[in-house]
């Protein structure tokens, strides 16, 4: 079985972020980028399947600048077989529609029985790309999967989380699956894995190779950023020392009263 895991590079949560005022895009130079933490769970889910199912390969796919290609070595060290990066200046400024449109063509070229992805990305927090990708690829989409129960006879059975509980769903392959953190903590790379990853292939694709004719990037995007502002800052917290429960409870209760919250 051929599994492709779509991954995204996101700015490190702890890094200070700056926006270019003219392009209204995140300045990515000088900021550490890391794998979207949700996608590490997708890699873990793929590697669990690789251990269980014979003749399974795991390919990582990302849209990222050529310069950040090496970031994927860490994910390859976890145990993925190879990586393909769609890298093209024409992709800059892509929104959900443009991203999913371009990625669809790339995934078709790579070929797959199963695509795995994290349920959300950490920066835009849109969560829209997987759904749009599944739709464009014309394959069933199983979202928010917490456990892949079985893959057999060209079908997948999985448990997916809902807002109030879970569902057991069944559908045919090829399919697009997004996973939640419940699939299992991403494994650490072993020393052997790290050494082996140095020899693994990270191939690049360009828009031209995919024959994409519709404009993507900021020209093709269906959204544009009008303004960027800092968040409203809060006043510094009032700090109350509570030697006993009654003092602490009263301090909170009075504060809530003051704000008409009780």
């Amino acid at each position: 079985m051929k599994i492709v895991v779509t991954v995204k590079l996101v700015p490190d949560l702890a890094a200070a972020k700056r926006i270019d005022p003219s392009t209204k895009r995140l300045i990515r130079t000088g900021i550490d980028t890391v794998l979207n933490p949700f996608d590490e769970y997708a890699i873990e889910a793929a590697l669990q399947l690789k251990e269980k199912l014979p003749d399974t390969t795991v390919t990582l796919f990302s849209m990222a600048p050529e310069s950040s290609k090496e970031t994927f070595r860490k994910a390859l060290a976890m145990g993925a077989d190879d990586a393909v990066v769609l890298s093209d200046p024409g992709l800059a400024g892509s929104d959900v529609w443009a991203t999913s449109f371009a990625a669809t063509q790339a995934l078709r070229k790579i070929g797959f029985d199963l695509v795995l992805s994290g349920a959300l990305s950490d920066d835009g927090n849109t969560g829209g790309v997987p759904g749009a990708l599944a739709e464009n690829l014309g394959v069933p989409g199983l979202t928010n999967v917490r456990k892949i129960e079985e893959i057999a006879d060209g079908r997948i059975r999985a448990q997916r989380e809902t807002d109030t509980g879970y569902q057991v769903v069944v559908g045919p392959l090829p399919a697009f699956v997004t996973v939640t953190m419940a699939v299992g903590e991403p494994r650490y790379a072993s020393l052997k894995g790290i050494m082996g990853a140095k020899k693994k292939t990270i191939a690049t694709l360009s828009l031209q190779e995919l024959g994409i004719e519709k404009p993507v990037g900021s020209d093709g995007a269906k959204t544009e950023v009008l303004a960027i502002d800092p968040p409203k800052s809060r006043e510094k917290a009032r700090i109350v020392e509570a030697p006993d429960g009654a003092t602490g409870a009263k301090a909170i209760f009075d504060f809530l009263r003051e704000r008409k919250l009780v």
Binding site: A16, K24, G128, L142, G165, E235, A242, G248, I252
Partner: protein, 328 residues
């Protein structure tokens, strides 16, 4: 874009507060755009819910009891919403920023070649153009986005960000007919409700959240739940508590969990690392209880009480209950 279409999330006819928030906002937007406000209600229980939505200022409520919406994952639902949007010609679709809402939204982007803005907390209309305000990059910036190059815009709206105001204007009920020639690939074999009857964390007006300081699963039930119930709210947790297995991941708030904006957030025994902060920093009022006065939550909170949570929480619950039974 002129018309506004609300996707109504429900379970057997039981909906969430965010539906009424969206219906109210749809009216305001439709008026600003010079169009109509629609709602789409799909699956079992839709007819009765459609009727109760007539208490909100919508022009038309489209519904179907088609059981395929409950038997198959997502595809039938997206078909119906797409059909309503296409009949409208150009429209903005409002969906709640929930697990289901995000799934519907992503699909619609491809079906309608639409723009999408997500987790939106404020919408404005200027010269017929819609601007959507949303926190991005883990809350470090607030962006305003608009749609371009498309007839359709999808907006996933953060629950609790808009007010709900009932107003009956005689919305027309329209029974939807089944789109022809469709087959659905993903069957729902089993649908289990684990948190039946609880207020959804994302729409609760009050969230009482616990972290490592609680030391185990029991205090979530014995300390936090009574306080949450007294305040009419829901219980949440930090990642540390979910990772320890004290609570299910569905209660986790933060970077890799849920994002909430209640009127009141009470963080109990949570240090408040940035991963937690991004999930609750837009709450109206933030109160923290911690035995350490130097924890990072102090930078996010409005009030930090330094003391023993095991004494403070029950005493606070008693004060709230007392106030409720004898209003001042």
């Amino acid at each position: 874009m002129r018309d506004v279409i609300v996707f109504v999330e429900h379970r057997g006819g039981q909906t969430r507060k965010v539906t009424f928030e969206l219906a109210t906002e749809a009216r305001r937007l439709a008026d600003a755009l010079g169009g109509k406000a629609h709602a789409v209600v799909l699956g079992k229980g839709s007819e009765s819910l459609a009727k109760s939505l007539q208490n909100y200022p919508l022009n038309a409520i489209h519904y179907t009891e088609d059981s395929d919406c409950d038997r198959f994952l997502l595809e039938p639902v997206v078909d119906y919403v797409e059909a309503v949007a296409k009949a409208s010609g150009d429209a903005v679709v409002l969906v709640p920023n929930t697990m289901l809402g995000r799934d519907v939204a992503g699909r619609l982007v491809a079906r309608l070649e639409a723009g999408i803005t997500s987790d939106v907390t404020e919408i404005c209309v200027e010269n017929g153009r819609i601007g959507c305000v949303a926190p991005k990059l883990q809350g470090s910036t607030i962006t305003t986005c608009a749609f371009k190059n498309t007839a359709y815009g999808i907006i996933t709206v953060r629950p609790n960000a808009f007010a709900a105001a009932p107003q009956a204007i005689g919305a027309e009920l329209i029974a939807l007919s089944k789109p022809a020639g469709k087959s659905y690939s993903i069957a729902i074999e089993n649908d289990v409700e684990e948190a039946a009857g609880e207020i959804g964390l994302e729409e609760a007006a009050v969230v009482v959240s616990g972290g490592r300081g609680l030391g185990g699963p029991e205090p979530f039930e014995t300390l936090l739940r009574p306080l949450a119930e007294a305040l009419g709210g829901a219980v949440g947790a930090s990642r540390a508590a979910a990772d320890a297995g004290w609570v299910p991941y569905s209660l986790q708030i933060g970077q890799t969990g849920k994002v909430v904006s209640p009127q009141l957030y009470i963080a109990v025994g949570i240090s408040g690392a940035i991963q937690h902060k991004v999930g609750m920093q837009t709450a109206g009022t933030i109160v923290a209880i911690n035995r350490d006065g130097t924890v990072p939550i102090g930078e996010t909170a409005d009030l930090l009480v330094v003391g023993d949570l095991f004494q403070i929480v029950p005493a606070l619950t008693a004060l709230v209950q007392e106030a409720k039974s004898a209003p001042a």
